[in-house]
C-alpha cells in the first residue's frame, strides 16, 4: 500500500515527458515533418531547449499545435510562420537570413575570406622578399669557394 502510494506520488510529481506517445501522428511522413519542425523551435519558457525535448506544458501545447497545422494541410514554412506569429522570432533556433541577422550568417564566411586574403598576401610578399634577398654575386662566389674546400 505504502509503496503504491509512493509510486503514485512520484509519478504525479514528475513532469511530462517531451514527445508523449499520445501526441504522435499516425502518418509517419507527417510525424517526421513534425519532429523536424519541433527541433528547430525553442520552448518559450525553458533555457535553451527545443520543444521536441522539452518537458514544459507549453511545449506540449506547441507540439500539438504544430501537428494540428500539419494535419490541416499547412506546409512546413506555414507551420513555422504560425508559431512565430504568436511567439515572435525568439522561438526560432535558426535565425532567419534577413536584416541584421545577415551579419550573424555572414560573419564566418567573411572572416574566412578576409583571413585567407591576408594570409596569402603576406605569404606572397614574404616569399617575394626572400627571392629578392637571395644571394648576391659576391656571396655566390664565396659560397662556391667554400664548397670547393
Amino acid at each position: 500500500m505504502m509503496r503504491g502510494a509512493l509510486l503514485a506520488l512520484l509519478l504525479s510529481a514528475s513532469p511530462a515527458f517531451a514527445v508523449q506517445p499520445d501526441e504522435i501522428l499516425s502518418d509517419p511522413g507527417l510525424e517526421a515533418r513534425a519532429r523536424a519542425i519541433s527541433q528547430n523551435l525553442r520552448c518559450p519558457v525553458c533555457q535553451g531547449e527545443d520543444i521536441d525535448d522539452s518537458n514544459a506544458p507549453i511545449s506540449r501545447d506547441l507540439r500539438l499545435a504544430v501537428r494540428a497545422r500539419l494535419v490541416a494541410g499547412d506546409s512546413d514554412a506555414q507551420v513555422v510562420d504560425y508559431v512565430v506569429a504568436r511567439y515572435g522570432e525568439f522561438v526560432l533556433f535558426k535565425p532567419r537570413v534577413d536584416g541584421s541577422s545577415l551579419i550573424l550568417w555572414l560573419a564566418g564566411p567573411a572572416m574566412l575570406l578576409a583571413g585567407a586574403a591576408i594570409a596569402l598576401a603576406m605569404t606572397r610578399r614574404r616569399a617575394g622578399a626572400a627571392e629578392a634577398e637571395s644571394l648576391s654575386a659576391a656571396d655566390k662566389a664565396r659560397l662556391e669557394a667554400l664548397m670547393k674546400k
Binding site: 512520484l10 508523449q20 522570432e89 526560432l92 560573419a107 616569399a127
Partner: protein, 657 residues
C-alpha cells in the same frame, strides 16, 4: 577554526600573489637577479596556501559544517561522500577556489619544471601568472567568498543540484578547469615574450608543452561533459551548442590552432606574432567562458551564480587582461620578425590554413553564442541562436579542415608540390571515396551526412596512417616496423590525435544520421520491436536510494530470441531539491548503444517508453580520447625534456636583428 584558517590562508595567498606580481616584474625590468628570484618561492608558497585553503573548505563539506553558508546551500548530510567532495566545486564560490588553486598550481609547476628557463623570462612568466591570481583572488575575497559563516546554522543543507550528482560530472569540472587555466601559462609566456621582445624556436618549445597539457585536459573535460549529457540530460544528445558548452569549445579550438602554430615557431621561426596572438586569444576565450558561465548574461542550462554584479567584475578582469595584452601586442608585435620564409605551397601554409579554419570556427561559435545579446542590445530583436544554426554555420569549417588535414600533414616544410605530397595518399583517397559510396549505397534514406562523414573519417584516419608509414622510411615491411619504436614520440602522437579527429567526425555523422528512435506506450509484460531487437517491459518498481526515490523499470532486450541485455531505466526524484531526473539505461556496444528511458504512467495503465539504437555512439568519445592520448604521447617527446633549454647562446635578441 579550520574554516577560519582556510580563510586566512586565502588572504595570505592573495598578498603573496601581489608580491609575486610586482617584485619579479620590477626585477626583470631592472635586471636585478635578487628581485627576479622572489618569483620562485612566491609561486610555491602561493600554491601551498591556496591548497591549504581548499583543503579547509573540503573539510567543511565533508564534515557537513552547516555554519558555512556555502555548505548549507550546496550540501546535505545524506549525500554520498563522493558528492560531498564534488560539492566543493559544484558551485560558484568553491569552483572559483578550485580555479585559483589550479592557476597557482601551474605557476608552481613553472617553478618546478622551469629550471632551464632564462631567469628574466621565468620571472616575467611568474609575475603575469601571479597577476591573474591577484585578480581572481580579489574577486573571490570581495564578492564571492566561500568562507562566509551563518549566524544561525540550520539543521541541514539544501543539497546539490541532482543533475550534478553523477560520477562523470564530479570530475568533469576539474578537468575543464585544468584546461581553461592551463591556457593561462601560454598567456603568461606570450606576455613575457612580448615584454622581452623576443620569440624564437626555444620559446616555441617551452610554450608548447603547456599548451599541449591544457589542450589535453580540455579535450578530456569536454568529452566527459558530452558523455554526461549523453546519458543524463535527455534523450541521448551529446552536444547541445549550449552557451556553456560553447564556452569550453572556443578555447579548445583556439588552443588546437595554437598547438599547430607553435610548431611553426619551433621548427621554422615563422608565424611568431600570430602565435602570440593566439596564445592571448586562447586565454581570452577561457576568461570569456568564465564570464558566460558566471554572469548569467546568456541563459544556459548549466549557468550558476547568475549574478550580474559578479558578471561586471569578471568583465572588468577580462577587459583589463585582454585590453592590456592586446595593447602590448599592438606595440610590440612588429619586433617579432619572422626568420623562416616559405612558399605559397608548403607545410607552413597548410598550418596557416589549419589555423585559419580553427580560428574562424571558434569565431563562428563566439558570434552565435553572443548574437542573442547583441541582437537585443543593438537591433532590439529578441531572437535565439541554437543547434540548427551552429550545425549549418560551423560544420563546413570542420569539413574543410578534415579535407586538407592529410595532405597538409604530409607536405614538406618551406616549399612543396601538392602532386608529390598526394602520391602516397592516393590509396587513402580511393579508400575514402569507396567507403563513402558504399555507405551511400547501403544506407536507407538520402541523407548526405552518413556517406560524407564516413568518407571524411576514412580519409583522415587512413591519411594519418599513411603519414606514419612514410615516416618509417623505405625498405621492407619488417624494417619499417622495426623503426616504429625509434620514431619521435611527436610523430606517433600526431598520428593518434589526427586519427582520433577522424574517428570523432565519422561517429558524430554516423550517430546523427542513423539513429533509430521509438516512442510508445507499453504495458507491463508487453513487447515491441526496435530495429532488429525486441524490447519487453517486465516490471516497474519503486526503489529507495540514499537521497532520492526512484521508479525503476526492468526491461529485457533480445535479438532472435536470445537475451542481449537486461536494462533498468529510472525516473528519480530528489526530495530535498524537489527535482526529478531521468536516468537512462544504456547497453554499451562497440557498434551501437541501446538507450532506454522510462516515462510517466499513462491513463491506460501502460508507461511511456522511449528507446533508441545509437550507432557508433562510443566512437565519439573514443575519438576524443584518442586525440587526448595523441597529445599525451606527443607531450612525452624527448625534445621537450632534453633539448628544452637549448636556446642557442649565439642567438641574438630579435630586437637587434
Amino acid at each position: 577554526m579550520i574554516i577560519e584558517f582556510g580563510h586566512f590562508c586565502l588572504v595570505l595567498a592573495f598578498v603573496v600573489a601581489v608580491v609575486q606580481t610586482s617584485l619579479p616584474l620590477w626585477g626583470a625590468h631592472r635586471g636585478d637577479a635578487r628581485l627576479m628570484a622572489v618569483g620562485d618561492p612566491a609561486a610555491v608558497i602561493q600554491f601551498l596556501l591556496i591548497a591549504a585553503s581548499f583543503a579547509a573548505l573540503t573539510y567543511g563539506f565533508v564534515t557537513s559544517d552547516f555554519s558555512l553558508k556555502l555548505v548549507v546551500e550546496n550540501s546535505h548530510t545524506d549525500k554520498p561522500m563522493l558528492y560531498k567532495v564534488a560539492g566543493v566545486w559544484g558551485n560558484h564560490e568553491g569552483s572559483l577556489l578550485l580555479w585559483v588553486l589550479i592557476l597557482a598550481g601551474f605557476g608552481a609547476c613553472a617553478t618546478w619544471f622551469g629550471g632551464n628557463l632564462p631567469a628574466r623570462l621565468k620571472a616575467r612568466v611568474l609575475a603575469v601568472q601571479g597577476s591573474i591570481g591577484v585578480a581572481f583572488m580579489a574577486f573571490m575575497l570581495w564578492t564571492s567568498n566561500p568562507f562566509l559563516r551563518l549566524e544561525n546554522p540550520p539543521m541541514n543543507g539544501h543539497d546539490l543540484n541532482p543533475l550534478l550528482q553523477d560520477p562523470g560530472l564530479a570530475f568533469h569540472p576539474p578537468f575543464l578547469y585544468l584546461g581553461y587555466v592551463g591556457l593561462s601559462m601560454s598567456f603568461s609566456f606570450a606576455i613575457a615574450a612580448l615584454l622581452e621582445g623576443r620569440v624564437d624556436a626555444a620559446w616555441g618549445r617551452w610554450v608548447r608543452p603547456w599548451t599541449l597539457a591544457a589542450w589535453i585536459f580540455l579535450t578530456i573535460g569536454i568529452a566527459m561533459g558530452s558523455w554526461w549529457a549523453y546519458y543524463e540530460l535527455g534523450w541521448g544528445g551529446f552536444w547541445f551548442w549550449d552557451p556553456v558548452e560553447n564556452a569550453s569549445f572556443m578555447p579548445w579550438l583556439i588552443s588546437a590552432a595554437l598547438l599547430h602554430s607553435a610548431i611553426v615557431v619551433e621548427k621554422r621561426e615563422s608565424l611568431k606574432a600570430w602565435t602570440i596572438l593566439l596564445a592571448i586569444l586562447a586565454f581570452g576565450f577561457s576568461l570569456t567562458g568564465t564570464f558566460i558561465v558566471r554572469s548569467g548574461v546568456i541563459t544556459s542550462v548549466h549557468a550558476f551564480a547568475n549574478d550580474p554584479a559578479r558578471g561586471v567584475v569578471i568583465l572588468g578582469i577580462l577587459g583589463v587582461f585582454m585590453g592590456g595584452a592586446l595593447t602590448l601586442f599592438a606595440f610590440r608585435a612588429s619586433v617579432l620578425e619572422a626568420k623562416g620564409v616559405f612558399a605559397v605551397i608548403s607545410r607552413e601554409t597548410a598550418l596557416v590554413a589549419n589555423n585559419l579554419l580553427l580560428a574562424v570556427a571558434a569565431f563562428v561559435v563566439f558570434t552565435g553564442t553572443i548574437w542573442p545579446l547583441i541582437a537585443e542590445l543593438v537591433f532590439a530583436r529578441k531572437l535565439s541562436v541554437g543547434p540548427p544554426f551552429f550545425d549549418a554555420a560551423f560544420t563546413p569549417f570542420m569539413v574543410g579542415l578534415a579535407v586538407i588535414l592529410p595532405v597538409g600533414a604530409m607536405l614538406p616544410w618551406k616549399r612543396a608540390e601538392i602532386g608529390r605530397a598526394m602520391r602516397p595518399l592516393r590509396g587513402a583517397l580511393v579508400l575514402a571515396l569507396a567507403v563513402g559510396l558504399l555507405v551511400y549505397a547501403v544506407q536507407t534514406g538520402r541523407s548526405a551526412l552518413g556517406p560524407v562523414g564516413a568518407a571524411l573519417g576514412a580519409w583522415v584516419v587512413s591519411g594519418a596512417l599513411v603519414d606514419l608509414w612514410q615516416r618509417l622510411g623505405r625498405g621492407a615491411i619488417s624494417a619499417r616496423l622495426g623503426r616504429l619504436t625509434r620514431l619521435p614520440r611527436a610523430d606517433l602522437g600526431k598520428m593518434l590525435a589526427h586519427s582520433g579527429m577522424g574517428v570523432t567526425i565519422f561517429a558524430v555523422a554516423a550517430m546523427t544520421a542513423w539513429v533509430t528512435e521509438d516512442i510508445r506506450t507499453v504495458k507491463i509484460g508487453e513487447s515491441f520491436a526496435l530495429g532488429r531487437y525486441d524490447v519487453t517491459l517486465l516490471a516497474v518498481n519503486s526503489v529507495q536510494g540514499p537521497n532520492y526515490s526512484s521508479v525503476m523499470a526492468d526491461m529485457r532486450v533480445s535479438a532472435g530470441g536470445a537475451q542481449v541485455a537486461l536494462l533498468h531505466p529510472e525516473k528519480r526524484i530528489y526530495p530535498v531539491a524537489g527535482m526529478p531526473t531521468t536516468e537512462a539505461a544504456i547497453d554499451l556496444g562497440v557498434f551501437r548503444d541501446l538507450y532506454l528511458v522510462i516515462g510517466d504512467a499513462q491513463d491506460d495503465g501502460g508507461f511511456a517508453v522511449r528507446s533508441y539504437i545509437k550507432p557508433f555512439a562510443n566512437w565519439i568519445w573514443g575519438g576524443a580520447l584518442l586525440m587526448a592520448l595523441g597529445g599525451l604521447v606527443s607531450l612525452s617527446d624527448r625534445r621537450f625534456r632534453v633539448a628544452a633549454g637549448a636556446r642557442k647562446a649565439a642567438a641574438l635578441p630579435l630586437a637587434a636583428e
